[in-house]
């Protein structure tokens, strides 16, 4: 649920529950975006051609 949904109420329950969920989703989303973008840049720069980390 988003704050602009008609069911949304600005109270502690909604802010804590949904705030927590969006916070965790943001971390997961940002982390994965960073990994994918960096992998694309690394690949473009010729890294990862059979070497092992």
């Amino acid at each position: 649920m988003f704050p602009f949904s008609f069911e949304w109420i600005w109270d502690v329950g909604h802010v804590v529950f949904h705030g927590g969920m969006w916070y965790a989703l943001s971390i997961i989303g940002a982390g994965m975006t960073y990994c994918v973008l960096k992998a694309a840049i690394d690949t473009k720069n010729g890294k990862g051609g059979g070497d092992h980390h």
């Binding site: 909604h14 969920m21 990862g48 051609g49 980390h53």
Partner: protein, 414 residues
């Protein structure tokens, strides 16, 4: 035939044998899928749910797999956040077991809600006064974290790893894995706790009701603690079973010993806290609600007798704790097996006691004890994710480098 996909330097059984094994387990999966389709097509009348038991056998199965899957978040926390490097040799398997357990939990929930097409309602029309909403949020997000932790393993398959983008992606995910592991630990602490909190806040069910701090009953903390304590034991148990089946040593003894030692201390502290909680409940909370502790146990000894309390706390609590705490007993393989099995049974029994037994006991003066007998559809759909988990583990073991020490422990002669 599939040798190009198998990790380098390790030996696997023939493809024919592997597929035969998968087909046998697959037959069980198909049986479960048939029961699942029945539940979805015909409705929850396929279960033996009644006014006393509104969640069927599934609620116990759900809580039990989530609890034993706790090994993933706790091992991840120890490895990536606290920095115990030795655990890198078992973390992949802990994650894989976690994926299977949490995948099972979500599948069971999808059947239990009866209308999976409306599963998203809990996110959109969330009841922010319910601990189960928190469970749904954290469970779904933690499943996403587990999949993220599993993806690098998939990308390390011999053929996939040859593609530079996937190789780089896997490397980058390893680099930031601590962030995901910390997020996973945070999410796990809350959903494990809230599952316990759901029982603890039931003031109309004095068997389950507990006092606590602020909005959290003691069961909130005990559930998280017990999952962190017994989850690693389940990881050890599955590792040992895998070693037996493959007839190979897959993880060095010092790694298992470290995890067993940590688990031992966790079980010891947990079981002391659980004992204090039980004594306080028996001598303070229950009498204040007008009950004698023996009112909570049925005259039918084998159904809901006092044995279940002794079994949970003494046999499946103190005994594994004592075994795992002492180096000598911990390093004895038979005793290690015993401790891992007892701790796993103990946590499953704890979940049973807190979700099934409160529903069984009479609440009104005219009520009687109710014994729940699940339908075959419930049993089949409970076995389904276990069989599915076995297939996923077998597939992952065959094609992915799950055990970093396998090559060293089992050198292959060319």
């Amino acid at each position: 035939m599939d040798s190009a996909l198998i990790p380098k330097g390790v030996e696997r059984c023939s493809l024919k044998r592997f597929l035969l094994g998968q087909a046998i387990v697959g037959a069980v999966v198909l049986w479960g899928v048939y029961a699942m389709i029945l539940c979805w097509m015909k409705g929850l009348n396929q279960t033996n749910m009644n006014d006393s038991f509104g969640f069927a056998l599934w609620i116990w199965a759900d809580l039990a797999v989530i609890a034993v899957g706790g090994g993933a978040f706790f091992t991840g926390l120890l490895r990536y956040v606290i920095g115990l490097k030795d655990l890198k040799n078992i973390i992949n398997y802990a994650v894989l077991i976690g994926v299977c357990c949490y995948g099972s939990a979500l599948l069971i929930l999808a059947i239990d809600i009866g209308q999976p097409l409306r599963g998203w309602f809990i996110f959109w029309h969330a009841n922010v006064h319910s601990m189960l909403t928190e469970v749904a949020f954290c469970l779904s997000l933690y499943m996403a974290v587990l999949i993220i932790e599993y993806i690098p393993l998939l990308l390390e398959n011999r053929q996939v790893d040859k593609i530079p983008f996937f190789h780089n992606l896997s490397h980058n995910m390893h680099v930031v894995m601590a962030v995901f592991a910390a997020t996973g630990a945070f999410l796990s602490c809350f959903h494990q706790g809230s599952l316990g909190g759901v029982s603890g806040v039931l003031f109309g069910r004095p068997f389950a009701f507990r006092e606590g701090i602020f909005i959290w009953p003691w069961t909130f903390f005990l559930f998280t603690w017990s999952a962190a304590a017994c989850g690693p034991c389940f990881t050890i148990l599955v590792t040992k079973i895998t070693e037996k089946i493959t007839n190979k040593k897959l993880v060095k003894d010092n790694v298992i010993d470290l995890l067993a030692k940590i688990s031992g201390w966790m079980i010891c502290s947990y079981i002391i806290a659980k004992t204090i909680d039980t004594l306080y409940w028996a001598f303070v909370t229950a009498p204040h609600a007008g009950f004698n502790v023996m009112d909570f146990y049925d005259d039918n000894f084998w159904a809901h007798g006092i044995w279940i309390l002794i079994m949970e706390i003494v046999i499946c609590g103190y005994i594994p704790a004592i075994i795992l705490l002492r180096e000598k007993t911990r390093q004895n393989q038979k005793l290690l097996w015993t401790a891992a099995i007892l701790a796993t049974i103990g946590i499953c029994l704890n979940r049973w006691v807190l979700v099934m037994q409160p529903m069984s006991m009479p609440v009104m003066t005219f009520d009687e004890w109710v014994l729940y007998l699940p339908s075959w559809q419930e049993i089949a759909t409970t076995i389904l994710p276990i069989a599915g988990g076995i297939m996923v583990i077998a597939f992952s073991y065959r094609y992915l480098p799950i055990f970093p020490q396998e090559q060293e422990l089992n050198p292959v002669e060319d």
